[in-house]
């Protein structure tokens, strides 16, 4: 292994607020998987919230400053790149950096709010880009078992691939990168229609009715295309698709549960870790992967 490769295997890490609470298992499984694959993280010192939906829908200057504070911290820490595993954080960070590089007046206002100059552009990457950079081969090399029983609907949601001009990643309508990563675990993926449809996102608390409706459509489309599990790469999507199945059962009597796993948990299972180590037992829908029974009946 060259020293060049070692350098690339170290990534700046912006966990995001959900990772410290409701998406704890995303953080746990990501860190464990990264370690097994020989990569490491350098967490941003004293990172703060990216501003999320609430800032950008109410105050564009506040939103820009809250996101850029973290980009600037990464620069001060000497980082070149930074992984934001939450799709919403990722989107806020790349969008804010794009906007201030495009619009000098916004840049000036943001710098004034932060009492600091924006000096260094950071390559902010999402979780899918991270695994593609580490290399799908690395997952295959380190695989302890094949998840051959799984038929996975890869759910991208909104913010990993949109807007295409800013994320510059995969395809905005028919992305396929998550499928490549999931297939490296030995699982099968399904072709379905709702992979980039919205789950209702931040309306989860104030308009739960909308989230329940939208998430129900996503789950049903996945099921009707033969999926037995959904893979996600966003804490908000996970909350809406997993935890909101409880409310879904009340709105839609007869609703059948469908497990929703973080991409990192699927990879972790393939790398030989168990459900408890990966935090899968923290989900609302219980899930345990069962290896196929070996066929001994061959005459």
């Amino acid at each position: 292994m060259t020293s060049m490769e070692e350098v690339i295997m170290k990534y700046g890490y912006y966990p995001g607020c959900s990772q410290t609470g409701s998406a704890k298992e995303y953080d746990i499984s990501l860190r464990k998987v990264i370690e097994k694959l020989g990569a490491s993280f350098d967490e941003i010192n004293d990172w703060s919230c990216c501003g999320a939906t609430s800032a950008h829908v109410t105050n564009h200057k506040l939103s820009s400053a809250l996101a850029m504070r973290n980009i600037m911290l990464a620069g001060q820490q000497g980082l070149e790149n930074m992984v934001a595993p939450c799709a919403a954080c990722y989107n806020r960070l790349v969008t804010s950096q794009y906007e201030i590089s495009k619009h000098p007046e916004l840049r000036e206002e943001t710098e004034e709010l932060l009492s600091a100059k924006f000096q260094k552009e950071i390559n902010v990457i999402n979780i899918l880009e991270l695994f593609l950079k580490i290399g799908i081969n690395k997952i295959i090399e380190n695989r302890k078992r094949e998840l051959s029983e799984l038929k996975v609907a890869c759910y991208y949601g909104c913010l990993l691939v949109r807007p295409a001009a800013i994320t510059k990643f995969d395809d905005a309508e028919q992305p396929v990168s998550m499928e490549k990563i999931v297939e490296s675990t030995g699982a099968k993926t399904v072709d379905w229609n709702y992979k980039v449809e919205c789950c209702g996102a931040a309306h989860s608390i104030a308009r739960r009715d909308i989230v329940v409706d939208l998430s129900k459509k996503i789950l049903e489309d996945a099921r009707s295309h033969g999926a037995n599990v959904i893979a996600v790469a966003c804490p908000m999507c996970h909350t809406n698709l997993d935890m909101r199945q409880r409310a879904m059962k009340r709105t839609y009597p007869g609703h059948e549960e469908l497990p929703v796993l973080y991409l990192t948990e699927l990879i972790g299972l393939a790398l030989g870790m168990n459900e408890h180590e990966l935090g899968i037992d923290l989900h609302y829908i219980n899930y345990k992967y069962t290896d196929p029974v070996p066929d001994n009946t061959v005459a």
Partner: protein, 211 residues
């Protein structure tokens, strides 16, 4: 295209746009009306979003693909039309900007590359600044509670968020089925994660709350 062709094209364009010379009383007249022209809400939205609201030519592709259109009172493209035509009150009072989930499907598909999600951000922002009465009260309360957490701790603290939201809405029973479950599973911490530079984050809030 040769240099001569280019010159001819430029000449043609100039004559098309401005048939009269650039001096004289007509030009002065134009300048003076420019000067007194009111800065409209449409102008303000264009400035904040770095795009001209008149870009939208009302094809309706945004509304056709909007996942939350069903719940809105006015179709998203019609909110743009209201702003274009100067019916600001109708647009600012609409449910639509508040129900927009910011999924960016519209912005991705727009044939004019008009970023409608960003437009909706500006409409909401201006509605708040103008003190317009907003029907989707719980959504506003949620955003307020969320931002309060960041203002106090530097990060979103979910227990604090839910508690504050419940106080604001007096909706004490919603989510009683999920929050305790998450708490007992050890997902929700009892204490917030405070960052060190809370002062710095607070000052951003202070400086931006004036406008």
């Amino acid at each position: 295209m040769s240099a001569n062709d280019l010159k001819a094209t430029k000449k043609l364009q100039a004559s098309f746009i401005s048939p009269t010379p650039q001096t004289g009383p007509d030009q002065d007249h134009i300048n003076s009306t420019e000067h007194i022209r009111e800065h409209t809400i449409a102008d303000e939205i264009s400035e904040r979003t770095f795009q001209d609201v008149s870009l939208c030519y009302q094809c309706g592709k945004c509304s056709a693909g909007c996942p939350v259109r069903y719940y809105m009172d006015i179709a998203p493209n019609k909110v743009v039309r209201l702003i274009q035509l100067g019916f600001y009150e109708d647009a600012l009072k609409s449910d639509t900007p508040w129900l927009c989930a910011g999924c960016l499907t519209c912005s991705t598909r727009c044939p004019k590359e008009f970023d409608l999600a960003k437009f909706m951000d500006a409409v909401r922002e201006i509605a708040i600044e103008k003190g317009v009465e907003i029907k989707q009260k719980n959504i506003i309360k949620f955003h307020k509670a969320f931002l309060d957490q960041i203002k106090s701790h530097g990060r979103a603290y979910e227990v604090g968020l839910v508690a504050e939201y419940k106080m604001k809405t007096m909706d004490l029973f919603q989510d009683v089925d999920s929050a305790p479950g998450m708490y007992f599973k050890g997902k929700l911490g009892l204490l917030p994660h405070n960052i060190k530079d809370r002062k710095g984050v607070k000052s951003i809030f202070k400086k931006t709350s004036g406008k």
